[in-house]
Amino acid sequence: MLLLLILFPLAVALLALLLPWYQARSWLLPVSGGLHLCLAGICVAGSDYASSPWIGLDALSRLVLIVTSLLYAGCAVYAVGYLNLRRDRGNETIVPCLLVFLSAMTLAIAARHLGLLWMAVETTTLASAPLIYYNRNRLSIEATWKYLLLCSVGIALALLGILFIAYAALVGGDMPISLQLDTLLANASQLSRPWLHAGFVFLLVGFGTKMGLAPLHSWKPDAYGEAPGMVGALLAGGLTSVAFLAILRAVQLMTAAGDGAMARQALLGMGLLSLLLAAIFMVRQPDIKRLLAYSSVEHMGILAIGVGIGGLATFGAMLHLVNNALTKGCLFLSAGNIQRAYDSKRLSKVHGALATLPISGGVFLAGFLAITGSPPFGLFMSEFTILRGIFGNGQFWIGLLMILLLAMVFIGMGATVLTATQGEPVKLESAYKDSFLLVISPLLFLLMVLLLGVYLPEPLQRALREAAALLEVQP
């Protein structure tokens, strides 16, 4: 079943390469997205799929899988409308690439072997490069080059980290040398400590580059800014969650070896730095998509802080992962609509979006309120849980710093978003109109985030608790 989930997007990608009709090719995306969502639902609901040593699902990957699949399905519906607008650019490359990207992400989520995980994450980099290059102008070349180079170097370092962990097993003796996650976790106490620590640091740096934790985030504003809205949504909501999952695997390993405290401190430090840098760069940011990119850096920071604190905050971080992915989807898609309508994403041209495009502008504004953690949206709940975890842990100053930075983010982001949305309606030069396919996904995402804010369903709560528990396993 899981194998089918990974392989069928590849088959559809092949089909997309062969199909000669533009519309049909576009429609392949929502069809496969929906199918993927259904299959993922069955897999996640199923009892236990960790039978194979290579792929399998545990509580963490179930959570990430369902979120990613949901986000992908929404973006796929949006993609039909978007690709209709961009007939000049064609969809011969982007549709297969999107499908390969889906397959690679699923593989990365399901991988139970560090080598396989690494391969899958590397494949997501390669499959997403053409997506970022979709607009084929100077700026998108620059963004793609930075993305490829930085992420490739990051991924090379992650490989080195994996090798170090294998070497830790070799030096540690008394255990089978394998990169299979369960074997490693079972024998974690025998791993040679210095090599394990070095391996963790390299994994954190490598996958941290992919996830966009400061100070390795510099590709993020460029790539998200230049990529089409739905690609931005997939990168910011899906790929970052996958990279975070990869880091969590390393944290799991460190915790199993009894060195969880060190891993948590490293995560906490990088998280706080991300939050700080993102807050600084969000103030007076004149570009709405770059603003969203920095917001992504900020939320990656919050995730890292949550796991770094542990306990209740880990539960909060898991919830935050779900909320962040959905809200980012909503924001990037509506921002994409605004950019299409105004033919610009800079504040010099974009204003009065609420009056000009009531639905997209409204969703964008509401999404801003959601992402900055205003009640009653889900992010309020998750950020509140993380803060409760921090204060409950007695780390008063860290909590205070985080609240301060969140306030700064709210003000900085608010200035830009309000300038873009408020004001007199403008006469648009483009022929863009909000259509059903273009607004339904962001609306649904927003609705879900709203629901998560007022009511947390029992199965989801259980899944979150199980996922958090996986990270808390002490030897």
């Binding site: 490829l148 090379a156 070799l170 030096v171």
Partner: protein, 212 residues
């Protein structure tokens, strides 16, 4: 067989130095190709003529020694560039830095808690030194091609370390490593072509429109 390993690793280090000190792109690509081909011998020398080692060697030779350099040479023939002009840090300073980091790698490797059978030998220091050299190239050069070469050297360094472990790693992962490397460079090559078409140069310093 084992006594050939040290001269081979020494040659790898010398190639690092040459690449750091040379301005001629064609020559740099060629020596990095030679480096890849030399590294392909490494699994054979250290693990003997097993099927696993031969497979790894064949893959490394094809990709690191032949295919990727060929792609890069084709790319620079198309954009007609010969030299790395005005690197961010000059050639002699990078060379000095490269030697210093190499020396540092040798001293540092003695402090590492290595497995007893790896304590002598030059595997670990050479791997570290090659990675450092790759990083130096990545940081100090402006041409996209040279940055790709730096990335290749980084991968070569990791490969040297991986050979120590190749008994522990199933073939599938190794195949993936090389394949990913190939595809990565291929994609980068396409991007380089696009850069040259748009900017009529492959200097990455022109890529500075996106900043705060």
């Amino acid at each position: 067989m084992m006594e050939l390993i040290n001269p081979l690793l020494l040659a790898v280090i010398l190639i690092n130095f040459y690449t750091l000190g040379s301005a001629r792109l064609v020559a740099c690509i060629r020596v990095v190709a030679i480096q890849g081909a030399l590294l392909a011998l490494l699994p054979l020398l250290s693990h003997g003529m097993t099927f696993h080692a031969m497979l790894l060697a064949a893959e490394a030779f094809c990709f690191k020694g032949v295919v990727i350099p060929w792609l890069l040479l084709r790319a620079i023939r198309r954009v007609r560039i010969r030299r790395e002009m005005e690197p961010i840090v000059g050639f002699v300073p990078t060379l000095i830095l490269g030697v210093l980091t190499t020396v540092g790698a040798f001293l540092f490797a003695d402090l590492l808690p290595l497995a007893p059978e790896h304590h002598d030998g030059m595997f670990v220091p050479t791997a570290l030194a090659t990675m450092f050299s790759g990083f130096l190239l990545l940081i100090t050069r402006r041409k996209a091609i040279t940055q790709i070469l730096g990335y290749l050297m980084l991968e070569n360094g990791i490969f040297i370390f991986a050979v120590l472990l190749s008994a522990a790693m199933p073939v599938m992962v190794e195949a993936g490593i090389l394949l990913d490397l190939l595809v990565g460079v291929f994609v980068m090559g396409i991007v380089v072509n696009q850069i040259s078409r748009e900017f009529s140069t492959i200097n990455t310093e022109r890529l500075t429109a996106l900043k705060e």
